[in-house]
């Protein structure tokens, strides 16, 4: 496979955009990336699109086709990729593989998402009996998504002595950074007391420690290194792009399952950790070389647990790091210098591509007040329903 570089990036603000269609959001965002890359639509030789978005659309997610039919019908190959909340990472991987294997020299990665208000609804037409695991978790247990994370969080308190204040500090840090990100949905800064006084949702997790859902869109233009030399003086290189699925025996209690067949030797959060491990191997880069990370903080717990699972720090060390602001922008291991999902809200399928946008901004030195000093290597990782995981490592 040949080297792949990022030629251009684009992002839509995160929030609620009732007046816009998903196509309008993705088109605006893709146009930003096209402009940033210095390419024309006719130069794009392939598209990876995160699909299966909640707003449906043509064929329940022929997102790339909708885009080509709107702006550039050029006969190019497209992949509309379903991988739930990891779909952005999967779409990136599809486009990456096209360029790396010479299918095309320039490819677009795109995702846009408009999330329903309130709870994420069940799949239309899903069975209401023993055959539908999602039906079981709601009807027989009354177990919503934050409940899964809360049980992991409560166990962490038992295993490592993590306190409710640690979870709250993660939220304080996220919103402090997010307030400085122009594309974040939430720009309010919270004190520790305000977070600790927010409503308990699923003990030990409180309202301000759990991400909301948002509308958003992000786009990336990938190219061969030759295209990179032609079009940019400071290309960001894709050191690795990987996807993975879950491993048998993984002890995590995985949404929407109601049990786990736990084997002591199996990796924890395997879909994400396997993707990350493969990314380290592919890049020839170890966790000690990582300058900063963008990870999927659906709630505060992930931001403590995931850096440990990805071997960016020792098991249990995240609490100390948060206590000493070492995961802040100026710390020794900045986590989510974007402000994270907590500041943006989750636009599910778009998040993996949005992470790439944020990492590129850092590596280009364009992150302003949020700039990580000496940012050379960034890692991003997502996890999606159905045991989907993705990871990317970018470097300059």
């Amino acid at each position: 496979m040949r080297e792949v570089v990022v030629l251009g990036v684009g992002v839509h603000p995160w929030g609620k955009f009732d007046e816009k269609s998903v196509l309008q959001m993705t088109l605006e965002t893709a146009n930003k990336a096209v402009e940033d890359a210095g390419v024309e639509w006719r130069d794009i030789g392939g598209i990876g699109a995160a699909s299966s978005h909640f707003s449906g659309g043509m064929g329940w997610g022929l997102s790339a086709n909708e885009l080509t039919q709107a702006v550039a019908m050029n006969g190019v190959p497209v992949f509309n990729v379903s991988a739930a909340c990891a779909a952005g990472g999967s779409a990136f991987n599809a486009a990456y593989l096209m360029v790396a294997n010479g299918v095309c020299d320039i490819a677009l990665v795109i995702a846009g998402e408009k999330m329903p208000k309130g709870f994420i609804p069940r799949t239309p037409g899903a069975a209401e009996d023993i055959t539908d695991i999602d039906y079981l978790r709601w009807s027989a247990i009354g177990l919503p998504n934050p409940g899964y994370w809360a049980m992991e969080a409560r166990r962490r308190m038992h295993d490592f002595g993590t306190t409710e204040a640690h979870f709250a500090k993660v939220s304080v840090k996220a919103h402090k950074v997010g307030a400085q990100n122009p594309y974040a949905r939430y720009h309010k800064v919270f004190t520790l007391e305000e977070v600790l006084n927010s409503n308990m949702v699923n003990y030990p997790l409180r309202l301000y420690e759990i991400c909301a859902v948002s509308d958003g869109a992000a786009a990336i233009i990938l190219g061969s290194s030759e295209e990179g030399r032609k079009r940019t003086t400071k290309p960001v290189s894709v050191a690795a792009s990987t996807i993975a699925t879950g491993k048998f025996g993984d002890p995590q209690i995985r949404i929407p399952e109601i049990s786990t067949t736990a084997k002591p030797t199996a990796p924890y959060y395997s879909e994400a950790t396997i993707a990350v491990k493969r990314a380290y191997e592919m890049a020839g880069i170890g966790p000690e070389d990582i300058s900063f990370a963008e990870i999927q903080d659906n709630c505060s717990w992930q931001e403590l647990a995931w850096p440990e699972l990805f071997e960016l720090c020792q098991p249990g060390e995240s609490d100390w790091m948060v206590d000493h602001d070492e995961t802040g922008v100026d710390g020794k291991l900045p986590i989510n210098p974007s402000g994270g999902f907590l500041s943006f809200g989750e636009a599910t399928t778009a998040m993996g591509i949005w992470q790439v946008y944020e990492i590129v901004e850092q590596l280009r030195g364009q992150a302003g007040a949020r700039q990580v000093k000496n940012a050379k290597v960034g890692i991003g990782a997502t996890l999606g329903l159905g045991a989907n995981g993705s990871a990317i490592i970018l470097k300059v």
Binding site: D129, I130, T260, T261
Partner: protein, 144 residues
């Protein structure tokens, strides 16, 4: 008391034995690798398993609490509850068979719940349906 004869009906068929004085969860066991699954599965997801034949089994009614949460707000449908909503515990229970099972706890009082405690399977009401039947599910009750 209601003049109607109310029945106790399971929230879902095929999840636990009912009616029963000693209800148990209905699972499967792989005949080759010995792994247990809940609820019942068609086959075995162990990639090293060749035969993948599974048999139906009933799971131990006792286990240890691995972790828990308290559900402080009413989940959306298809969850149903009888007004007024009362916060309830949800536990992740380690069974001797080597699987962890999520289920409601019989209490929502955090002072009655601790990691590592022994729990026992019971069947209790979730809500009352329009015909006056008690719709029941499996729950775990603290044993100490």
């Amino acid at each position: 008391m209601s003049a109607r004869v109310s029945k106790r009906v399971p929230v879902v068929e095929g999840l636990f034995t009912w009616p029963s004085d000693k209800p148990q969860l209905m699972g499967t066991r792989c005949l080759s690798c010995g792994s247990y699954f809940f609820p019942r599965k068609m086959t075995c997801s162990n990639p090293d398993c060749k035969e993948k034949k599974v048999e139906e089994v009933l799971l131990s009614p006792r286990g240890k609490l691995y972790s828990y949460t308290i559900q402080y707000y009413p989940p959306p449908p298809p969850f149903r509850y009888s007004e007024p909503f009362a916060p309830y515990g949800i536990g992740l229970v380690e069974l001797p068979e080597g699987i962890r099972v999520a289920g409601m706890l019989t209490t929502g009082d955090i002072n009655e719940i601790s990691i590592g405690m022994d729990v026992e399977l019971v069947v209790e009401k979730v809500y009352e349906d329009d015909e006056g039947n008690e719709v029941v599910t499996y729950k775990f009750r603290p044993l100490s």
